[in-house]
């Protein structure tokens, strides 16, 4: 455990709302370990019947992009509409694309 006994570490909570859908980030909470994080997530995020599956991951294990690098990370993609697959003529028989 860390030196700081007063604070439990932070966990990120991912919930799958329905079978077949992907897990989505729902929020974060504090817990002493993964088991407690699951139980806390159950009570905090699924008590109104929001989920069928929960993943928890300790927040420190997530590597996030740095907002300061947004210019070079994301802006170059803004004017490249040709990367969207919208320039094809789809046959009428193909319904779900």
């Amino acid at each position: 455990m860390s030196e700081n006994k007063k604070n439990w570490p932070l966990w990120e909570i991912f919930v799958r709302s329905k079978n077949g859908l992907e897990h989505r980030h729902f929020g974060s909470l504090h817990a002493a370990d993964a088991d407690m994080a699951l139980e806390n997530a159950r009570d905090v995020y699924t008590r109104r019947n929001e989920g069928v599956s929960i993943w928890v991951v300790e927040s420190k294990n997530i590597t996030a992009s740095n907002p300061e690098h947004n210019a070079e990370m994301f802006e170059p993609a803004k004017d490249k509409i040709y990367r969207h697959p919208t320039f094809y003529d789809l046959p009428d028989e193909v319904k779900h694309m």
Binding site: L29, D35, V44
Partner: protein
């Protein structure tokens, strides 16, 4: 005894029997509800409140059924909120206060193990309403048992301080555990009819299960053989009046209040 007398005695016993079950959950639900906004952390606060709401949801089913059996015009709210202290028949354990989080968890744990065993048996009741309530409640109670058992282990097998606090709470509340297994006349009558549960048969399994969790939590199983009783006969501890004052305040101040 003619059929009519027999029928009325059965209804009286059934009514009292339903209260014996429901009052435990009502009073414990009220105790857990007291922690709303006062839990040790935001997450445990929500967990305790959820558990409280589970219990209060269960008691609605019981009191609605009791009101139907009584058939004297009283509603579920009248039965839940407007009895006098002597008319509540919950065990003494559930009215014990939230002295600290160890007491809250120990009290709930000692109840959950009983509750789980009890509902498992009640599912087989000849009374289909009680069997259905038991079946529905059991999923919730399985989670309560898991939640409190986990906390018993965490605190018991935690730091020196948490171990000592958990042991104190278990030692103090232990004296209230035997009351579960002393059947009232309604409990005896209903067990004979195949409607109620033979609670005396649950005793060994109860103490075995409790001991197993305590040992895993590195806690000592208390050896005391002195046990309190009286709640099931309406003789309550000094805490009960204060609890009822808070529970009944709204209905007594604004009679027939509805949300």
């Amino acid at each position: 005894m003619n059929n009519e007398q027999g029928d009325s005695r059965l209804r009286g016993n059934l009514y009292n029997y339903i209260l014996t079950i429901a009052d435990n959950s009502l009073i414990l639900g009220q105790r857990m509800g007291e922690l709303c906004g006062h839990g040790p952390s935001l997450e445990t606060d929500i967990a305790c409140t959820n558990i409280s709401l589970d219990l209060l949801g269960q008691v609605r089913s019981y009191y609605q059924y009791a009101a139907k059996i009584a058939g004297d015009g009283r509603t579920e709210d009248d039965i839940a909120m407007l009895r006098t202290e002597r008319e509540y028949v919950n065990v003494l354990l559930v009215e014990q206060p939230n002295t600290d989080f160890a007491y809250t968890i120990a009290r709930h744990f000692l109840f959950d193990i009983f509750h789980f065993l009890f509902l498992t048996e009640l599912q087989k009741s000849k009374d289909l309403t009680l069997a259905a309530i038991a079946k529905k409640s059991l999923k919730e109670v399985s989670y309560h048992e898991r939640f409190t058992s986990d906390w018993i282990k965490r605190l018991g097998d935690g730091t020196e301080e948490s171990h000592q606090k958990m042991q104190t709470a278990i030692d103090d509340l232990w004296a209230y555990t035997d009351e579960f297994f002393n059947p009232t006349s309604a409990e005896k009558a209903m067990a004979e009819e195949g409607i109620g549960v033979d609670i005396t048969a649950l005793k060994k399994k109860y103490y075995d299960t409790v001991s197993e969790v305590l040992e895993e939590a590195t806690l000592k199983v208390p050896e005391s053989k002195y046990f309190h009783k009286g709640g099931k006969q309406g003789i309550h501890s000094e805490h009960m009046g204060f609890l009822l004052a808070e529970l009944q305040y709204m209905q007594r101040t604004y009679p027939n209040l509805e949300w």
